[in-house]
Amino acid sequence: MTEFLQHLVNGLSLGSIYALIAIGYTMVFGILQLINFAHGEVYMVGAFIGMYSSVYLKLAENPSIGSLLIAMTLAMVGCAIVGFLIEKLAYRPLRGSPRINVLITAVGVSLFLQYSGQLVFGSSPQFFPELYKSSAEGGIWSFGELKINPLQTIVLGISVCLMIALQFIIFKTRLGRAMRAVSFSHDNASLMGIPTNRVISYTFMLGSALAGAAGVLVGLVYPKIEPLMGVMPGLKAFIAAVLGGIGNVVGAVVGALVLGLAEALVVGYWAPTFRDALAFILMILILLYKPTGLFGTKRTEKV
């Protein structure tokens, strides 16, 4: 039983990271019907910005929630800029061209970021500085057999806060209303006086900022970062978004948690090597039998 609970905890913390990345996928897909393959790389850039800012601002010298938040904010701002540039330089000129061209461009941007990341950051893994130290004994909370890394709860907590903030932006602000309108119909939205291009830029920036936050949070729990780290989580997050019904923010979060839990259970009870295959098998099954995902009905609100 404790073993099972342990897997649950691990799965939830993994899932909450997938969720932050998946939200970006689902938002961009909702608004442009585009799989932004480069999204996983934005997350990688976020982790590196977090690392460099904590090295240069010497945040790791006094580890606390405060320095974690500073590093995370910087990463979010940096990633928002990266997301803005990607959209502006690569995707915007292609608006209205065949989807396959946009898809190829997205793959190109993704490869470009991966390999220029190796050029800029070096291809060997680097260690993410310890931004937060738990006061607990050995850095682990023990409840009998069950061991919880306080970092995991922080990751979960921050993710939930960010998701709530995002829900607020989408449903309670003018920008959110504009985003919903654009995702419903570009033409109609622009006829109503909504600057669609600017709204799309904001959507990219929001999604990328969340991916940046995810990068820092991952660096916190798994402190080894490298330029190719974004590939698999990026794909998995996309699968999570599909699982929950792409275009649906809440669906993406639920899908990510389901995927995180499923992976943790496969790693725990079966073979770790099948972990990557599981995600793809899940995705193929979902796409074949319920292509709209778990929450993707026609009535759901898209962003």
């Binding site: 898809l103 190829i104 461009t105 470009f112 190796q118 098998i281």
Partner: protein, 344 residues
């Protein structure tokens, strides 16, 4: 053109292909004496890449189904052929005549095995389009890789060493010619127009009586067949297979070749397969000079720049005969009949 003329024209074009194969077999005797081993290896990889790119072009370019799992088919073929030789007595790999016959058989079985996987992978394409299909084929490629990784009988993560080296220059390029020939003939036939009609507009194709379901699966099966053979050639040249070689970056490499050459141009695929394989080696030298691997950065930038400025690739959908006649026009070469016309 009456029927007999058509027949001679076709025979003439068949003759061209035959002559190409004959030239390859003659060249095979002395090519290793005239080029150094390094250049020879580049020539071999270029040949394998031609087969891969032309076969992927059938799926991605002509049928318009964006597949990102070509490396998966390749690995299936490579492992099947290696597995066959692993389980045969050693004289099948060493006897100069027997090994050649076994090799041809193994290549065909490898192709058929990959084609079977292509059939399975092609089935979802009936329900999925564009981006979704792309990511599902990518997923299939990864699943194949993970399965190979976990089967100990074929080496698992350690890889499969000491595969007999049977891929000669002649075999690699014969396969490249046969692949090009088959897909060329297919594209020029009525079946080829069915492939292209699916790419242009599926609903219109369906209403004109094209069985789109069958057509799409066919494209996957044929493409996978040749990719499997290419994989087998690859394994028997490198003498070592590792599942890591066939990850999605490998698929991306083939996609880049097809896209840059022009989706829907066999000429383009061949041209860019040779160009990019050679470029890879040039950039490898540059890597020793600068210390960083610029290859993928340049490839990906090329991909983005091409999509932004010339989305049809280098050749678009044009083929060699058209290009030659265009060039002739451009440089003032005119047929006699044209001259008569211009006088009036």
């Amino acid at each position: 053109m009456d029927l007999s003329l058509q027949k001679t024209a076709r025979l003439k074009s068949f003759g061209g292909w035959g002559a190409a194969v004959a030239a390859i077999w003659i060249l095979n005797f002395f090519i290793q004496d005239i080029v150094d081993p390094y250049v020879f290896s580049v020539i071999m990889y270029a040949g394998i890449n031609i087969t891969l790119a032309v076969s992927l072009n059938l799926i991605n370019g002509f049928t318009g189904q964006f597949s990102m799992g070509h490396a998966g088919f390749m690995s299936v073929g490579g492992y099947i052929s290696a597995f066959i030789f692993m389980n045969l007595p050693p004289e099948f790999s060493h006897d100069p005549i027997l090994s050649q016959f076994t090799f041809v058989g193994a290549l065909i079985v490898a192709g058929l095995g990959a084609a079977l996987i292509g059939y399975i992978v092609g089935l979802p394409s009936l329900r999925l389009r564009g981006d979704y299909l792309a990511i599902v084929t990518l997923g299939f490629g990864e699943i194949i890789r993970v399965i190979i990784l976990n089967v100990d009988a074929i080496g698992g993560a350690r890889g499969l060493p000491s595969i007999p080296q049977l891929s000669s220059f002649a075999w690699v390029y014969t396969v490249a010619v046969v692949t090009t020939f088959t897909i060329w003939q297919l594209i020029k036939s009525s079946q080829g127009r069915a492939f292209m009609s699916v790419r242009e507009d599926e609903i219109a194709a369906e209403s004109m009586g094209v069985d789109t379901t069958k057509t799409k699966v066919q494209a996957f099966v044929i493409g996978a067949f040749f990719a499997g053979i290419a994989g087998a050639l690859f394994g028997h040249y490198l003498r070592y297979l590792n599942p890591q070689t066939f990850d999605f970056n490998r698929s991306f490499e083939i996609i880049i070749i097809v896209v840059l050459g022009g989706m829907g141009s066999i000429t383009g695929s061949i041209f860019s397969a040779v160009l990019l394989t050679a470029l890879k080696e040039v950039l490898r030298d540059l890597k020793e000079y600068t210390g960083v691997d610029l290859r993928m950065i340049i490839y990906s930038l090329l991909l983005i720049v091409f999509m932004l400025t010339r989305p049809n690739g280098i050749f678009g959908t044009r083929e060699l005969p058209e290009i030659i006649s265009d060039l002739k026009k451009k440089f003032g070469y005119r047929k006699k009949s044209d001259k008569v016309g211009s006088k009036s």
